[in-house]
């Protein structure tokens, strides 16, 4: 007992925590320092970044598979596997040249035909990829290191598409794997990225392991997000899935894990008190919370009812319900695009600003003809973000005098129910909650939620021709000024017609042991440049 008190007195309490235990397994200190134990935001339930688009799959995939281009921290696509590219004067022919010496984890060289097959599979599943696919003439490997992509119409945003960070990323796989039907899962996980996936150590729901790929050739530039030299400083990375945040917090405090991707904000003060733990914002691009209203059926087929909800809602309530008391973690968001990125705008955002106008909202709602019919509100209970938002919405609708039919279901069921277009009461719905990563709201190519092309639009099926006109204007824009002007008009039209309701912009924390170095802020955890001392 005295020994323990004594031990606690030492400054290096963290390392002693282990020796203070009943056991002191004499693990080789070196081995411990070469393995980084990381707690991801969610379970790595599958491992095909084209087939499944959850963020957690993308984040793991970014270690294993490499890309032609990679987005850097300035949101510019930079060459990664590509040594260079050439676009013909008419903008119709793109030629990409691969860096020499690239190798897959099975020892085979990366060839142009692997790239062509990978892009082929990716364009079948990606929103931007589909646009390219629609205007594609041919996609071929002209020699071992050259890929030629011929289009029927120019596509100025090509490099953005190949280097973007939102899912699915255009990862390059060996041809035989890339030939898999894009709607079927791959079962071989071989890439050319800096880490190898250790399939035998994969326990879905619990653990995944990655080992350094010794033959990886990093670029010479310093690493910056998905761009630059991806130099690995640890030999092995273990992902440990912890469904219970309290457990993850305790494990980080006791040094059983090294890095926690998404600590809940209420635990952050406790983690900060621990002298061996560092805490910082995880992703400067943050997240945008939202709920969507069904534009096909009453009451929200009437723009007045939708505007009534915007008039009454308090983004502060939503944000506090999501992030807690920490005011550094959220901002009101009178728009649809990510704050701090070039296209951010508040044009037309007055309806979300200032004191909330409950009475005006009630009046507007009455004008829309709402007379107490039930409003089916889908809320996923297994996602803390949707759950918190759902609770706030239920309270809001109640205060507006609406009759809420609160459907507390799981995320999978929300996924199924929200696609149902039948009227509410026959399986349909009037409202559901979700959120988007800030990286997915930086422009209308990736921000699918703001699209308003009726039947083809995202769930809720808004139809606002003005919004669509501005999307086209953005795609065709030649200068940054033109882009910004188009997005300003888009933002206003989308708010005037309430394509959907943004509930605010929020950030999350990440936390790591102080013997881990090189953790950066970004939309996903970047493992290159991260080192660990014993």
């Amino acid at each position: 007992m005295d020994r323990r008190t004594l031990l606690k007195g030492f400054a290096a309490a963290g390392t002693l925590a282990a020796t203070g235990r009943l056991s002191a397994p004499a693990l080789a200190q070196g081995a411990a320092a070469r393995t980084l134990r990381f707690v991801p935001q969610a379970n790595l339930a599958n491992f095909d970044p084209i087939w499944g688009t959850q963020y957690v799959v993308r984040n793991a995939s970014a270690m294993v598979w490499d890309t032609l281009y990679g987005m850097d921290e300035k949101l510019e696509p930079q060459r990664q596997m590509a040594e260079g590219e050439e676009v013909s004067a008419d903008g119709l022919t793109w030629t990409f040249r691969l860096r020499p010496g690239l190798k897959f984890h099975d020892g085979e060289p990366v060839l142009a035909r692997d790239v062509a097959a990978s892009l082929e599979r990716w364009t079948a599943r990606d929103q931007m990829g589909l646009l390219i696919r629609a205007i594609q003439q041919e996609l071929t490997a002209t020699d071992d290191r050259t890929v030629k992509w011929v289009l029927k119409k120019p596509f100025p945003k090509m490099l953005l598409a190949l280097g973007k960070i939102s899912t699915p990323i255009a990862f390059i796989m060996p041809e035989r794997i890339a030939k898999t039907d894009p709607f079927k899962q791959i079962s071989e996980y071989i890439g050319s990225g800096p880490m190898r996936f250790v399939k035998n150590d994969w326990v879905p729901g619990a653990k995944a392991a990655f080992e350094r790929f010794p033959d990886y050739q990093p670029r010479s530039e310093p690493g910056s997000w998905l761009a630059g030299g991806k130099k690995m400083l640890v030999e092995r990375i273990e992902w440990v899935v912890m469904p219970d945040p309290a457990t993850a917090g305790a494990a980080l405090q006791s040094g059983e894990i090294d890095w926690w991707e998404n600590p809940i904000s209420d635990l952050v003060p406790l983690l900060r008190k621990n002298r061996n733990v560092a805490v910082d914002i995880a992703d400067p691009l943050g997240n945008i919370g939202s709920f969507r209203m069904n534009h096909l059926y009453p009451p929200f087929n009437d723009v007045r009812a939708r505007r009534a909800v915007l008039l009454a809602m308090s983004q502060e309530d939503y944000m506090r319900a999501i992030v807690g008391d920490d005011d550094n973690l959220w901002k009101p968001l009178p728009g649809f695009f990510t704050p701090g990125t070039p296209l951010y705008t508040e044009e037309g955002g007055e309806i979300l600003k200032g004191p909330r106008k409950l009475d005006a909202a009630k009046k507007l709602l009455a004008e829309s003809g709402y007379a107490g019919q039930p409003v089916t509100c889908l809320v996923a209970q297994d996602q803390p973000i949707t759950k918190a938002q759902g609770d706030v919405t239920a309270d809001l609708l109640k205060r507006l005098g609406m009759n809420v039919d609160f459907a507390a279901i799981d995320w999978g069921t929300v996924g199924a129910r929200r696609a149902v277009k039948t009227p509410p009461g026959q399986g349909g719905w009037q409202m559901f909650h979700t959120w988007h990563s800030g990286a997915d709201c930086i422009n209308p190519a990736v921000a699918i939620g703001v699209r308003a092309n009726g039947d083809k639009a995202w769930f809720g099926w808004p139809e606002v021709p003005e919004v669509e006109a501005q999307v086209t204007a953005w795609y065709e824009a030649k200068t940054a000024g033109e882009e910004k002007a188009a997005i300003g008009r888009l933002n206003k039209a989308a708010l005037d017609n309430v394509v959907y309701a943004p509930t605010g912009f929020f950030l999350g924390y990440q936390a790591w042991r102080k013997n881990v170095s090189g953790v950066v802020k970004g939309p996903l955890p970047f493992f290159w440049g991260v080192g660990k001392t014993a």
């Binding site: 323990r4 925590a17 203070g20 235990r21 009943l22 056991s23 397994p25 379970n43 339930a45 599958n46 491992f47 095909d48 087939w51 499944g52 688009t53 599943r125 929103q127 939102s166 899912t167 699915p168 039907d181 709607f183 079927k184 899962q185 791959i186 079962s187 994969w202 326990v203 879905p204 729901g205 619990a206 653990k207 440990v240 899935v241 912890m242 469904p243 219970d244 309290a246 457990t247 993850a248 305790a250 494990a251 405090q253 006791s254 059983e256 297994d382 279901i409 799981d410 995320w411 999978g412 069921t413 996924g415 199924a416 129910r417 696609a419 979700t434 988007h436 997915d440 699918i448 083809k456």
Partner: protein
């Protein structure tokens, strides 16, 4: 005896068939769509539909059920929708932690609860009995996760004696393996101990009133000898029965314990699978659980012949 075992094993087939059909039809009528979960937030309804087709989720109930039964008869439990790994592999990965947790809990609970129950019966009516039974009824009444958090807080975070979470395979050493399982086993064992202690006491009380115990006492056999040799042996049938029944209780509690202590076991696998609608996996795990249940009951029945010579099969 052998004929009995064979008969019992054959009798499990209808039980398993009922379970299989029940689970399968339950899942069939369940709302929720794994395809939508897989497709993710950016997917269009058409994508979701194509994934659904590629998973074969759009085909009629009986065809899917028939195929599944056919697969099982060939020793194949299918492939998980989400991970694309064989269900058998996924269950095998999770088997060791859960089995370890169960065995340690079982050993711990029985070795504490039985002597304590005997003691309570022996001292029936005294304060010792009251205290023991008070604890037992309390163990029944506190939810397992409350006990789990309390233990983790005291022994892992404050005293730093034991790890907070995790599981180390037995192959990496007995102590690391055991160390990680102490707190979960104690948390999980509470309800179970309460149950066994109560039944032990009740069974012992009954036996202690019998004539032969009085005879033994009259013959001057020591108190310990009476309690543990004569009485406990005769009281053991209900105790063993309850231990067997309790295994189902343990499996249920393991779901919670495994999630609190981040143990990669079958309980968590099952809940994850259910919440995500990973049909082949749910079916596999439920079959496994019912198999274990049937097996445990068979073992319990067979143990009767050892414990009570009057019972013969």
């Amino acid at each position: 005896m052998l004929a009995y075992v064979v008969r019992r094993v054959i009798a499990t087939v209808p039980v398993m068939a009922v379970v299989a059909f029940f689970v399968f039809s339950l899942l069939y009528i369940a709302p929720g769509d794994p395809a939508a979960v897989i497709a993710g937030d950016q997917a269009t309804p058409a994508d979701v539909e194509r994934i659904r087709q590629s998973l074969g989720l759009d085909r009629p109930f009986l065809i899917r059920f028939g195929e599944w039964v056919w697969q099982i008869l060939h020793g194949d439990l299918g492939t998980s929708i989400f991970t694309n790994l064989p269900v058998t592999t996924m269950m095998a990965q999770r088997f060791e932690p859960t089995l370890s947790l169960m065995l340690i809990t079982l050993t711990f609970a029985v070795s504490v609860a039985v002597p304590v129950g005997v003691l309570a019966a022996w001292k029936a009516g005294t304060w010792i009995d009251r205290v023991i039974m008070g604890f037992a009824i309390f163990g029944f009444s506190v939810p397992v996760f409350v006990i789990a958090y309390l233990l983790a807080f005291v022994f892992a975070l404050e005293l730093e004696w034991l790890p907070v979470q995790g599981y180390t395979p037995l192959a990496e050493g007995i102590w690391p393996w055991f160390e990680n399982l102490i707190l979960p086993a104690v948390a999980l064992g509470c309800v179970y101990m309460a149950l066994i202690a109560r039944i032990t006491r009740a069974a012992m009380l009954e036996v202690l009133q019998q004539d032969y115990i009085r005879t033994a006492r009259a013959k001057g056999i020591g108190q310990g000898g009476i309690l543990f040799v004569h009485a406990l042996k005769n009281a053991s049938v209900p105790i063993v029965t309850v231990i067997g029944i309790g295994v189902a209780l343990l499996i249920g509690g393991a779901v919670v314990t495994e999630s609190v202590f981040a143990i990669p076991g079958l309980g968590r696998l099952t809940v994850d699978a259910i919440l995500r609608r990973d049909y082949p996996l749910i079916q596999g795990v439920v079959l496994l659980f019912s198999f274990v249940y049937v097996l445990v009951n068979l073992l319990v029945d067979l143990s009767y012949t050892l414990l009570d010579p009057r019972i013969r099969y």
